[in-house]
Symmetry: D2
Amino acid sequence: MSSAAKVAIVAGVGPGTGAAVARAFSKIGYSIALLARREESLKPVQDEITAAGGQAISFPTDISDAESVKKTFQELSQKLPGPVEVAVFNASGSFIKKDFLELDPQDLNKSLRVSAMGAFIFAQAALRQLEKTGKGTLIFTGATASLKGSSGFAAFAPAKFATRALAQSLAREYGPKGIHVAHCIVDGIIDTPMTRQRVGDFKEGEVIDPNDIAATYVSLHQQSPSCWTHELDIRPAKEKW
Amino acid sequence: MSSAAKVAIVAGVGPGTGAAVARAFSKIGYSIALLARREESLKPVQDEITAAGGQAISFPTDISDAESVKKTFQELSQKLPGPVEVAVFNASGSFIKKDFLELDPQDLNKSLRVSAMGAFIFAQAALRQLEKTGKGTLIFTGATASLKGSSGFAAFAPAKFATRALAQSLAREYGPKGIHVAHCIVDGIIDTPMTRQRVGDFKEGEVIDPNDIAATYVSLHQQSPSCWTHELDIRPAKEKW
Amino acid sequence: MSSAAKVAIVAGVGPGTGAAVARAFSKIGYSIALLARREESLKPVQDEITAAGGQAISFPTDISDAESVKKTFQELSQKLPGPVEVAVFNASGSFIKKDFLELDPQDLNKSLRVSAMGAFIFAQAALRQLEKTGKGTLIFTGATASLKGSSGFAAFAPAKFATRALAQSLAREYGPKGIHVAHCIVDGIIDTPMTRQRVGDFKEGEVIDPNDIAATYVSLHQQSPSCWTHELDIRPAKEKW
Amino acid sequence: MSSAAKVAIVAGVGPGTGAAVARAFSKIGYSIALLARREESLKPVQDEITAAGGQAISFPTDISDAESVKKTFQELSQKLPGPVEVAVFNASGSFIKKDFLELDPQDLNKSLRVSAMGAFIFAQAALRQLEKTGKGTLIFTGATASLKGSSGFAAFAPAKFATRALAQSLAREYGPKGIHVAHCIVDGIIDTPMTRQRVGDFKEGEVIDPNDIAATYVSLHQQSPSCWTHELDIRPAKEKW
């Protein structure tokens, strides 16, 4: 694969959705920039993609820190000089559910740092790249809590609502400029090593296979400018909602 | 193509979205049952699909009449004996926008007959087929007026809201049974001979190519039961919303 | 009370919300026109209001029949010649919850006849009165199923969605003309003789007192044109949602 | 008025909505705690309420600073020892509308500090008071941007969405505990000295009189626990929406 291959940037790469999205765009020919705070989250995904014949480079990044993101995008432009066509914001503050008066304002702050500030900083950096060709796709991963503030979610839901507001604002600003901005509401448990360890084995249609989320993201990117989806929900067949 | 090929049923076939959806499912190997009130809406689509090597049969049907739909499904089972895997409800009452006091209750009735009653009757017949294999996809076409009641829309929006309510109710009942029910909000002008005649030529991203809607419907059908979308919007890049 | 007192029309009067709304507007000086299909639903409410010194007249009406509604409004104009300032559409098709394939299209039809067609016909008649003074309030009673189509609700939810679409369309058309159109989502069990018989006694905050709904409707009517609510939810304190 | 009068706390007091809400609750017998960052915002309101025979005390507070809010609530408990029954969060980061790439992450941060963090910190302090009696009302002021992210709103809308998520989460947690949490979407221009200076004179129904917002807040507080509104919109009669 030439170093000028088209580039997909995935922020928020762990063993679940982020890795799956990276693999999926690699399989259709993209060079992948992998962003996450910790290098150990990135390395296995990079290795897997490289072993499969793709190109992926790890960029340990604090997504909520403008300087860190700036530095990453500078390096990224050098190491992956092809046009950026896809940017996926899949990061999220840690899930937290607690009675309101047991939460600390710092719990909210941690959520906002990633889901609001991180999304904002990443989107600015990504859109500066996407604007160069005047096309491409920016996708944000949302959750049930993007639409509904439930009891116990006073630190988590505000941050997820904030990501959604950002995505909507950007879709309305950038659609006419030829850039597709989408927000995907993941409504269900994602099948990851962590959830599997916690819950045990799942039957078909009870949990979300991250590879299927990735397939949906590829579909979103492949939509024609005549027919863009801004928001969609995804959930397993058996999910109650 | 064997007569036992998998079947896709498309209700509401005209020169726009319905025809495009029929063509798209034909291209991936489905035998197509084409439903519309008037035979002359169906014939050109049937001819086109047949000429391209596919199988399509026309069933002139009054979708809001339980007897007519029953008769169609009986014939359909004989002529297209393969398992029904896809059913698309793309019919809609005529668009009507008028000051409220200039509307006649019959205007509402006409809208409801198709978008509420027709959707209901078609969904019952389709789900009886889909239940046989316990899988498959039922898609409803919605519109901007499915989400928003604007001034002048007192006859049109209630009917489109009704379709959406039906789709939601069915998604929650049939998801756990393995059948995927989706509702697609088409938010923009669809590029058809009729709209082109009315508005003139369009630039890219100003109107929706019905083939792109069809591609989205195929994507919905191809989603895994781990990751189903119930509702999504689609609009052209340049649409204001 | 003079026969030229301001008039409030309440459609859908039974022992619950309709009666409470009628009483509440009577207490603040309105003459009340009571509409329901059956005279025996109206008589006790009329007697109660009259006994309390108010004015109320019963108009047995099939709200889904344009002729019946027309006749009622003609009589009403003669018997209650004061200006109509308030119109409340509180009628609803019978609640029905069933597996989709056990529903008959006639179940949907019954729901639509009241919640879609009845609401439309009533709103036309009411707005013709409200337009005479260019002010006043038209309120529609909604339900949980106005916003959400749940499993089993394929006949009920489409009709309630339809009412909401109508209310939205009218609010956008009539707001600028000085007429306030509101839609109230009643999300919880209403405390009526019927529900009390079915469920037994309730604790505070578990069910909705219809008199409290009525107080909310009076508040809506009393809002200034500088500050109108179109939609609000109401539920008991202890309701899960 | 005795020093043990019931207390209403209003955060975000300027010449518009905050002042009007304070006056309205003073008129129905509440002692008012006035919170805003700058003393000069509070003083005129305090003076006006005092001159009218009410009780109001100013507490200059940085609502996004937990220490500042803690100190205010300590002082407040001493100076206004009556039970807290009403808390209104009316603060908001400055309105900002800009092309996304001209925004600075600090613009987002400023919005979040007030509308997300400030709302959170204030709600914790207020609910600790409201829990003492197990009743009362907590109201958040929202805006059009609480529901919709428009072009140019990438710093403002995320923060307003966040407030809404918080309000929803708290309503679901505190409703069953007897405390009413509401969120009011103010969809229109509020008539303040500032907007009047900018836009000139208004006709009736074109802008929102803050006193009418206050009347709506009083209505919300007066709802019975059988019938609470969580969310409502308000807009002027002539507003396009």
